[in-house]
Symmetry: C2
Subunit: 400 residues, 2 copies
């Protein structure tokens, strides 16, 4: 069918690339490019011979539009799948514009210095992408991504009107350590220490960090504590789901995880201000990272499941209706299949699916779009085929 | 009256030295000696002109018997007050034997590698001190020290028979930090993570670390959580108080302090095994110390009080009698007087008193003795005179 250029070679990219290779009819060729070409070469070496997909690799600095443009011109892919850092979304979009190449990503742009999750920077590219006649698909991971597809699917088949959405992200994985982070502890700390917010009756309501805590009984997992956070898909769903009155996002955190994080913050171990130690400047957070287990070492030892989905409340033919659409993913099953646990798996699979739908024309539309603005049905079918089967539960327990 | 050689120049020594200078009639001359002579010189500079006591300083490595012996021979003190590290008790005792000089300390010897608090090493010197005709007074701080004096005083004036002693050590000081340690965090951690033990009916009963928790309503402070720990004076009091059936030691720790310590342990920040960091070997506990507030910076900001004492249960003329003998010390008052908070103050004052009583002959007896083996009355009088007044409360609330 065609060729994808995949930028980035971290945990999520590793999953997406393996999923492309399971789908060689569509991904006949992929080029993997990152700052560190040796990582791309190692992944290619692991996959060559196991797939019909032809794999090439390249070195690129995704901060530099000219380098990216030159690489796209050389490789001539049908789509660019951006799995680099969120700071690099705009440079990659610029290179796609310069070469008239479709664009897909999983996380919205944020300036490196302000750490503000907003779509405004990327939405500002809408006109340019329309004029260039190319598609930009934003946020094709799980959350954002699948949560938007679930919303569009609920809207299409189950509701005349959706009034309330609660997005729930539960990770019940246990790595056996009293404390460890699945990814960069800095990002974790930012999530937990940032103010929360939700959208209600046309406006944003801000909360104190971790102010709103709920307990929810997750199917196939059980009761977990979850906390209201701001999350980027709230912004696009509030615009794209007609009739919506309130939309919130909750993520589970264990009490022990939060206690450890708070204690480490209190003593100054999460500070990014260097201190003098034995004649050297050392950033406490960097030292803490060195003491904590390497996130990549958690895969083989993490057991348990994730449950991520959306509770919809609305009306169908004049009656109240409530639905929970969700996916349950098992850490160990993921690790067996692709060598990563469920956190990377649930993001990498939808990234491949988004790139596939744009590449094969199913989701092409000149401009800049979020996933819920396309027909959800082919994406939902692909989730079932590629390892993230979903379930629908009528009349679920609601979040009060 | 005479001359004392004081070895060590840390927080406790600073208090003891200032107290000697308030007592110039007894301490006509003192020599302050430590590994770092500049610290001794700084203290001398601060005190010269404010006291009639003549102060000299010297450099000494307290690990080396020959250096100590040469220093004692040169200075010819009437008593050596050892306020160096507990690892150095035996070398200093050896030097006292070689020079036939009286010896006083505040904390029992422990081998640097095993961290086992026991009197057996120092008690083994009894015969040698007897033969040399000199006195070794062990453990003349607060606990051990004043707690033993309280016990001897209760025995002398208030009881025919003491059956139960509970020693309570409450520090209700607040330095305003979520977490900081009054002294080396390594010692704190060892206390909290070590098994507890108490003495009952002629044998030791061991407990899990922090297994026994009680709440006690301390006079002038209020209710605090306290935990049963092993403590060195249990060993000598069990031998020296006739008729004793049980003796226990409790120390207060706040829940927040314990939670922080546990979290830091869990993530590996209290480990003494070096890790590789940016090409250098770094001990996590050393780095943690560098991140935490400097203990010496806590003095000016610590408010609140300590309450340390002994609850005695026994018989007097055939009737049950219960007493609490205790001292309450105010952190800010101590800081105003000597520039140290109450933890150093309550140890430094009894060290001066012990040295005084040995030097002026009141507590001289050839051999090696713990404080409760001498007449407590002059010590109790001196506590009132030198800043640690004590109170006796009849029929106190008991620890169940």
């Amino acid at each position: 069918m065609g060729k994808a250029l995949i930028i980035g070679c971290g945990g999520v990219a590793g999953v997406a690339i393996q999923k492309c290779c399971q789908n060689s009819g569509v991904f006949e060729e992929i080029c993997i490019a990152s700052r560190t070409k040796s990582k791309c070469d190692a992944l290619k070496a692991k996959l060559d011979g196991t797939t019909k997909t032809k794999i090439t690799t390249a070195q690129v600095d995704a901060d530099k539009v000219e380098e990216l443009t030159a690489l796209i011109e050389k490789e001539r892919p049908d789509v660019v799948l951006n799995l680099a850092l969120p700071y690099q979304d705009l440079t990659i979009m610029d290179a796609c514009l310069a070469t008239r190449t479709h664009y897909v990503d999983t996380a919205n742009y944020e300036p490196e210095d302000t750490a503000k999750f907003e779509y405004k920077w990327q939405w500002a590219y809408k006109k340019k992408f329309e004029e260039a006649g190319i598609t930009a698909l934003l946020g094709s991971g799980f959350d954002p991504g699948v949560t938007g597809v679930f919303s569009a699917y609920a809207q299409k088949y189950y509701f005349d009107e959706i009034n309330y959405i609660d997005i729930l992200d539960c990770n019940a994985g246990d790595h056996g350590y009293p404390f460890a982070t699945n990814f960069n502890p800095e990002i974790n700390i930012r999530e937990v220490s940032a103010k929360g917010s939700y959208w209600e009756e046309g406006r944003w309501v801000e909360t104190e960090p971790m102010e709103i805590k709920k307990v929810y009984d997750f199917p196939e997992i059980g009761e977990k504590d979850m906390y209201l956070l701001h999350h980027e898909e709230l912004e696009s769903l509030a615009l794209n789901i007609k009739g919506i009155k309130r939309i919130r996002f909750f993520m589970t955190f264990g009490q022990s995880y939060l206690t450890h994080l708070r204690c480490l913050e209190n003593v100054g171990m999460t500070s990014i201000e260097p201190i003098e130690f034995e004649g050297k400047q050392i950033v406490p957070l960097q030292f803490l990272k060195a003491v904590l287990p390497d996130p990549s070492s958690l895969g083989p030892r993490t057991v348990g499941k994730t449950n991520i989905g959306c509770i919809f409340r609305g009306k169908r033919e004049g009656k109240e209706r409530n639905l929970y659409i969700y996916n349950v993913c098992d850490h160990q099953e993921c690790y067996k299949e692709v060598g990563s646990q469920a956190v990377a798996y649930t993001t990498g699979v939808p990234a491949m699916i988004g790139a596939m739908l744009v590449m094969n024309g199913t989701w092409q539309k000149p401009g800049v779009y979020n996933v819920e603005e396309f027909d959800p049905t082919p994406f939902m079918d692909a989730l079932n085929r590629f390892g993230l089967p979903w379930k629908i539960s009528e009349a679920p327990k609601l979040v009060d």
